[in-house]
Symmetry: C2
Subunit: 557 residues, 2 copies
Amino acid sequence: MPDAKTRVLILGGGFGGVYTAMHLERLLGRRGLQHCEIALVNRDNYLVFQPMLPEVISGAINTLHVICPIRRLAPRTHVYTREIEQVDLQNKTVRLAPGSRPKPLALNFDHLVLALGNVLDDSKVPGMREHALPFKYLGDGLLLRNHLVHVLEEADTETDPIERRRLLTFVVAGGGFSGVECAAELNDFVRGAVKVYRRLRPDELRVVLLQSGERILPEIDEGLARFAHRILQRRGVEIRLQTRLQAVTAEAALVADKSGGGPESIATRTTVTTVPTRPHPLIAGLPCEQERGRVRVDGSLRVLGWSGLWAVGDCAAVPQPDGITSPPTAQHAVRQARLCAANIAASLADRPPQTFAFTGLGKLGSLGRRSAVAEVMGLKISGLPAWVLWRAIYLSKFPGFDRKLRILADWIWDMLLPRDVTQIRLRDGQAVRQEHFEPGQVVFDQGDFGDKLYVVVRGEAEVTDNGAVLRTLGAGDVFGEIALIADTPRTACVRALTALDLVAVPRRAFGQLVTHLPGVRESMESIMRRHLGSETAEREVVSPRVWTEVNQVHEGR
Amino acid sequence: MPDAKTRVLILGGGFGGVYTAMHLERLLGRRGLQHCEIALVNRDNYLVFQPMLPEVISGAINTLHVICPIRRLAPRTHVYTREIEQVDLQNKTVRLAPGSRPKPLALNFDHLVLALGNVLDDSKVPGMREHALPFKYLGDGLLLRNHLVHVLEEADTETDPIERRRLLTFVVAGGGFSGVECAAELNDFVRGAVKVYRRLRPDELRVVLLQSGERILPEIDEGLARFAHRILQRRGVEIRLQTRLQAVTAEAALVADKSGGGPESIATRTTVTTVPTRPHPLIAGLPCEQERGRVRVDGSLRVLGWSGLWAVGDCAAVPQPDGITSPPTAQHAVRQARLCAANIAASLADRPPQTFAFTGLGKLGSLGRRSAVAEVMGLKISGLPAWVLWRAIYLSKFPGFDRKLRILADWIWDMLLPRDVTQIRLRDGQAVRQEHFEPGQVVFDQGDFGDKLYVVVRGEAEVTDNGAVLRTLGAGDVFGEIALIADTPRTACVRALTALDLVAVPRRAFGQLVTHLPGVRESMESIMRRHLGSETAEREVVSPRVWTEVNQVHEGR
């Protein structure tokens, strides 16, 4: 009778979720697991060891070595690598997105552990979703590294000095631990990589760190933060305090100084964001008490008002004995997970739960190349000793002996051998996506190569021909379609008059859509006829043959 | 006067292209390079060491270690990581695709070396482009590895025995060196990885190798091929000789036996192809003599009829002293590159060119786990000695000392530590793409989860409701849109009547298109009104609010 088993379902595969499963397996033992089934749902089949993620950027650690297969860590837990569609607390059911077959999958539970973490909020700053590179997940680290190589490649062959400068400027937003570590590793990487490019010089590189507060690393002692500030500056990072990211475009980061003064535009093709975060969307929709987007739990990690519902990690607001709410760090998540497992086991055995008693051991932040800052049990350490401590502590915390060995080997190789500058292309750039422009920015210019069609979502733009305004564009207007078909350079210039959001349809996707989606061809043809004047339109556009050819030519790889 | 320099332009970054640049740098020396400029164009900034690519599948070698940055190998060559748009032999110009700025880039040349290799031809077998996994480039290796982990994950949570069997079946098409090596590594990987999955057993795995000829490895001695055949069979690979891949769908590989008999359908979600190849599309368009898609050159690698034009590697038909045309292997490409560099240097110094005199040293094929076959200078070796030879030869051929060390370390770790089963998601599955179905195949069934809309490109399908035929669909028809909007399961079943090609538009892409692309909403609404009957349509569909909401809901990550 497998249905008589008690089901513990864990949502999320970060430190909170995976460590809950690990401890639960250990506490219940082989005997306990005959009566209890543990399942865990996560988008990926691995745990990311977050503290080492920044080292993926510089390549000091191999990408695959900062992650750990969840099945290895919790071998007796059922792992579902799916997206979660819906959490139904009333009926004690979680619905997962379909996998290879389009059949819905519903999991029932007796105990549910929420360990979903938080997500980056890209909705507050215009253009962030479209043009900024987030830095939170493993995929982000990979994409960022490839992007860095890509802009160096481009800069190496670029002849225009303004574009060259733009390609060689890097902006990181967020001066907390993750922003500082990201900026430090990014800086190390580009300054090392630039040496293999024949036409680039290290002094052309510019790395800017934006921090809205009065100092970097507000989480740590002021003296240590000052130390970190000096180290980063000496290594070439330009630190802008009291400065906030206002908007991002494909060509610039717009920043505003708190001391007043209008927004400044930093020309760059690389804006990395580590802030702000917001609660996981599934958490926001749950009918339970929340505190700034985190689920409120009592000292034993039970969600108020629901039996059998627990929350740990960054998505939980856990009260500490010192009166404050647990900060969102790995060390807290891991201890909460251990307690959560113990309390679930206690509840299964009808024993009373324990209370969360941890208040933090210390703080560690890496500054790249043999330097770090640490505040451990009252001691403040900086420089090389802190860096050695950083590596020793995190290596010892890394789950699994084989991983420890691999990371150690990576670190040794990294000291001995040159770093890589290979770029693996992960996106083909042929998807329909949104783009953001700030007032005055040029969408495209006369003579440009044309490989996209645009539709205005929000805002206004003007079309000019050698300075003479031809017309203005507003929401719903389509432009840029002629160059797609005739394979000629852009015949006019389009410039944003206000903040402007566009949907860009690249050539190949356009060919597919126009051929296959009903209604598109007809309305595109009427738009073109209007833009081109009747004769040309008749000749170039209306023939269905042209559409088919466009499609065939661009369907090949 | 930089424009007085002689320009040597190399197209392609495989063995042929990169080794030409390397040898040319060495031959010309610092002095020669003051009068001569070498440039190389390749899509990626690295050379892939093809012979080791199969080991990326099993994870024996780390992905990044089978590649080598071109700039490190040829430090004095200008590298352009761009796609090539056009080769103009008459005007001695090559046009590159635009990079970060939409400006065209044209390169002039005095000497042009064609080293573009060949590409996989996915146009001959229906469904190959849409559903087969190619195995030729580095990205293919990565995708394949991730796909293998993905299907194991799916199988582990799948309750339907038919689907489970389908997920655990793997088909590799092509019994030459690359197909055999790919099948061997794939087989090793899945049989090792299956151990960490709680609900999977090794005997459920099925790996099938398809070979159209009478034996595998036609390139090598028959005795060795028989040895390879036995080893693969003993390790669980099912070898189907005289069998050809006929069509691929998302759910099956259709194969036909040469001995007659109708096509057989092997239920699988993994069909890997290593055959057939076709000439690079840029080569096909060039106005020069060709021999089965390869550019015809004379013994000194000059393209007939053009001065200053050279060709090496898989895209060149090079006559050998033994009367045959050079086979497309790395050892030949490397020697051709050396000769090509020497002959260009000779031509710059007005010396006569040399003639290609190499006829091949031998053949090596890895069979995975400590076995291989080798035919070297008349000797036939198999098993462990051949495997040691294989590793020793290729390691010694790998360019760069640091790479050799890294690969050696990978091999040692691989013997000592467990292999990884992590899956990095590289595609988000939200792009508009084409799908292929064979007659009788179900596109979707009643009760399925609906997250895509379909448009018929070619072929016919029927819509049924509990067995009763409602209507038939043909080219241009749209279906499946209702489940997208109402978030209800599919209300009817759609089945292919003939071979059927569809364009599938996933939910998020659909939301964007319908909101932003002119004409789409109107025609979708009229289609729905027809499908649903007037009342429902009015209520559910026509309100623009609904579209906007669909879009907003699915725009979030």
